[in-house]
Amino acid sequence: MIYPGTVKVPRQQLICASPDDVKVVDLKVQYGQVKRGQPIATLASTKLAHFRSQLDSLAADLEVQRRPFTDGRIARLEGILSQEVESALHALDSADTYSKVLEKKFGLGFAVLTDVVALPSKVVAAKTKLASAKVDKQQFPMKVKDMKDRIEIAVTKLRSGTEIFEELTKRMTFVAPGDGLFMASVGVGGFVQSGDPIGVLYL
């Protein structure tokens, strides 16, 4: 008889659910007493293998992103940009001098109008090239910083991905959550869907 106000406590069982869609590779206990932390089953997940392959691709891509810094490309590009500024500076200087000389010649009657009419545009074009080269050079360190930061972002992403992968891999070794009687619900080579029981532990 159950008296009013009392509750019937059900026997405690812990469901040992599969952490993923897995194949049971090894089952150490089919039915029997287990101790907390005792390995019971080894599982394998295709999804996890796919995740590993994604992480490997990410690591390979990271290596490609790092190359400009390791093979001297950045230093070479920096040198080229400096040269471009130098060269644009020289071009502007020449255009400016040539323009002044021709204007003087024109003033003295040694040059014709057709020779001097296009001079201002040449000087302006040289100035524009110089401005563009200067901007390229000025923005280069910022772009390099962007590249470095993107590498850092990828490194962090890879690191956290690897941590998650390791955590998920750890779950592939299923251990008893407590002391008790374990009763498996799948056999070796069996497939278990994520969330379905591998077995039940009766405490």
């Binding site: 524009t128 923005q139 992403k157 407590g178 969330g195 379905d196």
Partner: protein
């Protein structure tokens, strides 16, 4: 193979309330204990279980869960936030303004060249009129003037297109930022759900142990 529900049994996760007398009770029908199922909000692992079985009061923490999906989402959001910051730099460090200035100068330079070519063309035409230059020279100069005009048109087109691109970039950044903010709010909300508290006073019986996995919607 047994199903999850079968395995759980009748009342593995139960919060039993001393039920109020119902019409059924009054009619002499069998009184039932009320069970509340405490479901996992996501595919989770039980990180910490406060008690396996026992009486609890409303709001009392029962379990702390961890979700790999949420960890992955957090990592993705952190990466997106960092990438967004890198993309914003073009605007905040004045790079876009510098590019605008270069494009403006390119248009000005092309205009000066076009005006000069035009002027030269007119001079040559006049010279041809008085017979000091040949018609072929005039044609060559006219061709050069037309080319300069085309270059000017291209420079102007580049300037307009770039301006549109800058606006698109800015709008995309704003869209990404809004989406990121919303996703962060969702993450916060989901993270808060990982602490399972008793929904009412009663007897709690866990159906998973510490370290155990629970699929979304299955009982803790």
């Amino acid at each position: 193979m047994m199903t999850r529900r079968d395995a759980i049994g009748a009342a593995l996760v139960t919060l039993l309330n001393p039920a109020e007398p119902t019409k059924s009770d009054q009619a002499g029908l069998k009184k039932r204990d009320q069970s509340l199922i405490c479901e996992a909000p996501d595919d989770v692992t039980v990180e910490r279980l406060e008690l396996l079985q026992g009486h609890v009061t409303v709001g009392q923490p029962l379990a702390t869960l961890t979700s790999t999906r949420l960890k992955w989402l957090r990592s993705r959001l952190d990466s997106s936030a960092a990438e967004l910051e890198v993309q914003r730099r073009a605007f905040t460090e004045g790079r876009i303004d510098q590019l605008r200035e270069v494009l403006k100068q390119e248009v000005a330079s092309a205009r000066t060249a076009s005006e000069a070519a035009d002027r030269l063309s007119k001079i040559q035409e006049k010279s041809a009129g008085v017979g000091t230059v040949s018609e072929t020279d005039v044609l060559l100069v006219k061709e050069a003037a037309a080319e300069s005009q085309m270059k000017l048109a291209e420079a102007e087109k580049d300037q307009v297109r770039s301006e549109s691109k800058f606006n698109d970039m800015k709008d995309r950044l704003d869209i990404s930022e809004t989406r990121l903010k919303r996703e962060k709010d969702i993450l916060l909300d989901l993270t808060q759900r990982l602490i399972v508290a008793a929904p009412t006073d009663g007897l709690f019986v866990a159906s998973v142990g510490p370290g155990g996995f629970v699929a979304a919607g299955d009982p803790v």
